[in-house]
Amino acid sequence: MRLKLKLILMFSIVIIVVVLSTSYISFKSLESAVIDSQLLQMGHEVEVKANFIDNLNARASGDLLFAVKNPVFVKYFELPDTKAGNIYKNDVLQFTPQQRTIKNELDQWIYNFQDKFSVDETCLIDRTGQEHTRLVMKKIAPDSDLSHEESSTPFFKPSFQKNIDEVYLQYPYVSPDTERWVFAYTTPIVLNDGSKPAFYHFEIPLKSFQDITKVDQGRAYVVDSAGYLVADSGHVYNQSLNSAPFGQSPKDFFPSINTISASSEFNEDIRNILASDNNSTNIGHVTYSGEDGELHYIVFKRLPMFGWILAYEKPYSLMMSGNYSLHNLAVILFVISLGIIAAGLIAIYVLSDRITRPIIDFARECRNQDVSNLQIINPMGTNKEINQVIYAFNEMIERVNAIEKQKEEFASMVTHELKSPLTPIIGWCQTLKNPKLIGQLNSKQFNAVDIIQKNAKRLLQLVGDILDVQKLDLNRMKFDSQPIDVDDLLNYMHNNLQNIMAQKNINHINSTKEQLTVRSDRNRIEQVLNNLILNAVDFVPSEGGKIEYGAQSKGDEILFYVKDNGIGIPPEKQKNLFRKFYQIDTSVTRKHGGSGLGLALSKGIIESLGGKIWVESELGKGASFYFTIPIDRIKTAKSEKVIDVKDQRGI
């Protein structure tokens, strides 16, 4: 993968992860702080309510005890008449005049008491279960209404177990008098001798207890150990009932705990709370997932009253509501996160660009280098590391250039040194042959000089070929690009070839019909034509030899041809024809000064000039050599270079 992409991807991921996790952590921290503070607040509310309940309880007990402090209670039960036992007539309790007087005082006291302290019902019950007085809603019950079956009430026995100044609290029941759910508080009447002839009892409605659980927000409730709600701010209790007093099961009146939530988690939570340490009255917290999909928080406290649990709960949304700081923080965090991520991405894009751009630019500079003319590259950008690479590259280039320069100097020295002796050799031969300069030579001497000259020329040709091939190999051959009059060239060659053609009795024809111009290297094309024609000279028959050469236009190329009527070249020898040192018949070519390099050289030259060279021949039917030259070489100049290097390696 590209470095740039890698950098961007990596750092983007890092930035995003860091920013998001930081935001998340700070958000969560604030959230839990808010929740903690809410829970604290709820805890206070629960304490407050628990205190209210305690107060209610304490006040009720206090009132009860206050009431019985009136000596009239003791006075009544100290009466010999009362002590003598109850007297009935027609099932109705009879009072003696003494009893009546005290009873009236008693009733008056209780009436005032009910007036001052709002209780539903008050009564006085003796050991036999007989009511001696009862007031319901400030109405004094007539004698006939006084019940004598109070011994069956659930609070009867426990009341007598209490001592003076002790209060017994009865579990809620439906009052037979008011027909609603009530608490009953009782305390015994204790005489001077310690006997307890009766107990005092009043009922207060459960409603006043239930009202304490009212809350503005959320839901508060009281859970009984049997799993139902004796109070619930979210439930409207039907206060008036038509049912059997005492007989009503709490389960029928009080809603099940499941009305808060049917979730099993909630159930389990409540069960755990109910089952836990009975003596602990500390504030506790617990949560559950409600059916509304929200997390609910419960703050609870065990009440001393019947071991009931007072609970106050709020769903998550309620705990967060009105908390603008949290909402604002969320928004701020979101905006900042986007900002940081955007800035980070831009920064990393720019940074990775600045890192990778010089690398790409450097690579491009390297690719654009002209292999034969390597230049040093200038430092790019401010990255020290890249510039290090560039400096190293430049050093390398300078070393390569130095080596190349050495090679070139060597090559040109070699060329010069090899060819220099040939000037005097050939020159003196020519001079010797010229009678005007040195004097006449005899025929033997002339012959000797001629042989020397011919061989020197052959050597010259060989040296030239080898140097040319080496140049092509090293891609060092330079080519001209001048307009060439093809006709002019071929005529010039025709003239030059007259001598040798006449000597060999060969009929040579320039069969060009068109006026052609081409932009290329005239000397090199001449070289190739010479090579092909002189090859043909070696292979035509000694009698009736014919060589035809010329050029014709072919699209955007000129097609040159050299055709002979020699012995031809068999197909299996054709494919290696243009390879270095390949000779069809060594005896023939050696005789005529061939090096085996001629065709290879021709191929190298033609291809460097942007053309193609090939042969068509059959054994016994002569050979035709063709090569093409593009009319305007400049258009194909660039692609040539590539062809040069690749193809010559294969020669």
Binding site: L422, I426, N434, R522
Partner: protein, 121 residues
């Protein structure tokens, strides 16, 4: 013709001496470019035969020096070169004022021909 030869190769110089002086010309030679320049400044020649590849002070250096002094066109310069100088490069030199170029090894007949040509223009 008065001909000056500048070439570091003794054999070539001696050959030219025999050929040119034997053909009725007045030929002298020197072995390096600096001496050659000196002679050019002192005397007048019809033709200068100048070898391009010489150590220390090459034929190119001679040409450039003459160009600077404006003496390039005062005599005909025929260049000898062993390397495969391109025709176009020779054109460049001819534009600067050089007469022509002969590739080594020097063809004596061709040289005599070129000498004739140089005087015809």
């Amino acid at each position: 013709m008065k001909i000056l030869g500048i070439d570091d190769n003794i054999d070539i110089n001696e050959l030219l001496d025999t050929v040119l002086n034997g053909s009725g010309h007045n030929f002298i030679y020197v072995k390096n470019g600096i001496e050659g320049l000196r002679l050019i400044h002192e005397k007048k020649f019809d033709v200068v035969l100048l070898d391009l590849a010489m150590p220390e002070f090459s034929g190119f250096d001679v040409i450039n020096s003459l160009l600077k002094d404006g003496l390039l066109t005062k005599q005909k310069i025929i260049l000898f070169t062993a390397s495969s100088v391109l025709d176009s490069e020779i054109e460049e030199l001819i534009k600067k004022g050089v007469h022509s170029c002969i590739r080594k090894p020097v063809d004596i007949d061709l040289l005599l021909e070129k000498l004739e040509q140089s005087q015809q223009v």
